[in-house]
Symmetry: C2
Amino acid sequence: MNELFSNRISGVAPSFIREILKVAVDPAIISFAGGLPNRDLFPVEALQQATNDLFNEDGKDILQYSSTEGYLPLREMIACDYRRKGLEISVDEILITNGSQQGLDLLGKVLINEGDEVLIEEPGYLGAIQAFEVYSAKFKPVPVGQDGMDIDALQDTLKTTQAKLIYTVPNFQNPSGISYTNENRQAVADCLSKTKTLLIEDNPYGELRFSGEEKRSFKAFLPEQTILLGSFSKTVVPSFRLGWIAAPKALMEKLVIAKQAGDLHTNYFCQRVLHRFLKDNDLDAHIKKIIGVYGKQKQVMENAIKRCFPKQVTYLNPEGGMFLWVTLPEGMSAMTLFEKAIKDKVAFVPGDPFYVTKRDLNTLRLNFSSVDPDVIEEGIKRLGKVLHELLDN
Amino acid sequence: MNELFSNRISGVAPSFIREILKVAVDPAIISFAGGLPNRDLFPVEALQQATNDLFNEDGKDILQYSSTEGYLPLREMIACDYRRKGLEISVDEILITNGSQQGLDLLGKVLINEGDEVLIEEPGYLGAIQAFEVYSAKFKPVPVGQDGMDIDALQDTLKTTQAKLIYTVPNFQNPSGISYTNENRQAVADCLSKTKTLLIEDNPYGELRFSGEEKRSFKAFLPEQTILLGSFSKTVVPSFRLGWIAAPKALMEKLVIAKQAGDLHTNYFCQRVLHRFLKDNDLDAHIKKIIGVYGKQKQVMENAIKRCFPKQVTYLNPEGGMFLWVTLPEGMSAMTLFEKAIKDKVAFVPGDPFYVTKRDLNTLRLNFSSVDPDVIEEGIKRLGKVLHELLDN
């Protein structure tokens, strides 16, 4: 069979996270490894109501095939929300996808030839690395820190590359939780405006801000070259797999062809349910509730870290999102820590999968959105104990 | 923007059907062009019940992220149904996809390098042509007729190709409605068993048989080389976008990697609803109802054709499915007929898009599943009138 596989898939390994987490199935393990929203916040009753209303009023229509682009009134809502934020994006520029992950796949499909260069944040979102790796992209990492992208490094990289794409998560980045300042966005845009590189602004967590001020979208700084990816997974529910791409019309035409060849269209039933839910409910109020819970959980984790971790261990303080990024003392391997921590029944994701070249790193990602406060306390205590043991050796 | 597009997408044209049907939006037009199941047969109440039961019992769980492979009990049901039909397929060999169209996309992704040869039925399913075209496959058409694939043509083609894949819809094929006899399947399998070519048996309509006897799956004739694609779109509802791939384990491993990189997993909420619906309802009885309606509509169409079409126009008589395939007299273009028919407010799909090389053909596809009997009568009458006019000129 092996000789039949395409070149593009032969080199792609099974997900690192999937593999390492196979050891973490023990229910006694406290896991900060996930990337899940908190299930206690899912709007179960409101979604049930929306579903019943639709079945009662439009039962047959919601069950038929539909259009590749997606349900028009849902796309209108997305366009309207952008308008509210000062971005003019027409309905024709919006395609509903199976989560924003499919947005990445479609962009890879219509843009990347084998060996094409793609700039990516380092550390960066594993799912983007996987999506573009399947199209045999050649990654050029650009470091990100507390304020955003390293502009010197970006300038240096642009001198020697003709990258088609640059991938960013400028708000509460996965994995590091950092956000780009407005000044950093402007500087990134200034660099890119001299190139043909398209910038992907992936924004799954943007609404989940619990401190600081909202930043401006790259679309405002670099309108012709920016592609926006959005998702309802973190603000409503993930199981519906509903996200979108907002892209300039010439690109959208190709994306629609690829989407049609790929799966005809996104689940129409759930597009209708989501639209009805959004029409009949106050999403802003719902998001405020999520922010309240995540903000508190982040604070509990931070306080516990201050109390339990050795002083040599540092972390970045996120203003929103779901993740907190930890840096161990130089030379200490997060993989080694992971192996010891699992024995003490606590799990996290070591930094390695978020880098395209480096390995055996001293960074790790902690998720606070899906773990209750008292469990966070206990988990951080366990992790602190392992850290102290490792450092004392 | 154009210079940024990947080679794979640059050559792919927008869907021919999509384009030609833009002229058919007038509601006064009777359309035999669609490929839609009959919406009056959707099990609305039973699906509403299943959904409510799930919301009431498991509200949070059905809304969270889930596994790439799909909901295990749903995959078990699919394996069980294969077992009932005498095919041993393990749960590990089944992946839930966004409709079987995504199955085609994933197979293209993990198997096809640029220029790889793919054998395809002629006429053949447009969606398969589109899916593999995106991966720059080189198509080798093999004609199909009333009894299945042209074995001489297949043997000839195999002499000069090293095709990785052969794509078939052996039951009530789209577009021609034909089915492969058991003898034809055996002969196809005999040819392929000497090669490494993988056979795709796409079977969206297999359950919808209204006459004749059930045929054996290619999996029984060619077990190591057969990949099965299935779908709930024609037996339950299409808007859920739920299908599956059943493939040997070595291939499945790669498909799961591609699926994860492509969209993480299929809509989990609808997987749960579908599973609950199947658990609490008698699918066989529901399918029997569909068969009753489609069988009748097929008969009405056939009778109307006999009455209204010129004798020189012939058709293939399907034993199931949703389509009836018409052949015009030699030299008469179905595209020309289409243009005239639209003016008389009746639409169909000309044969052209179902062929990978030939153009301006004298064949066309009529759909009978989504049109009511009295409308079928009227539509065929209109089409007969146009045919007579064309022939009399």
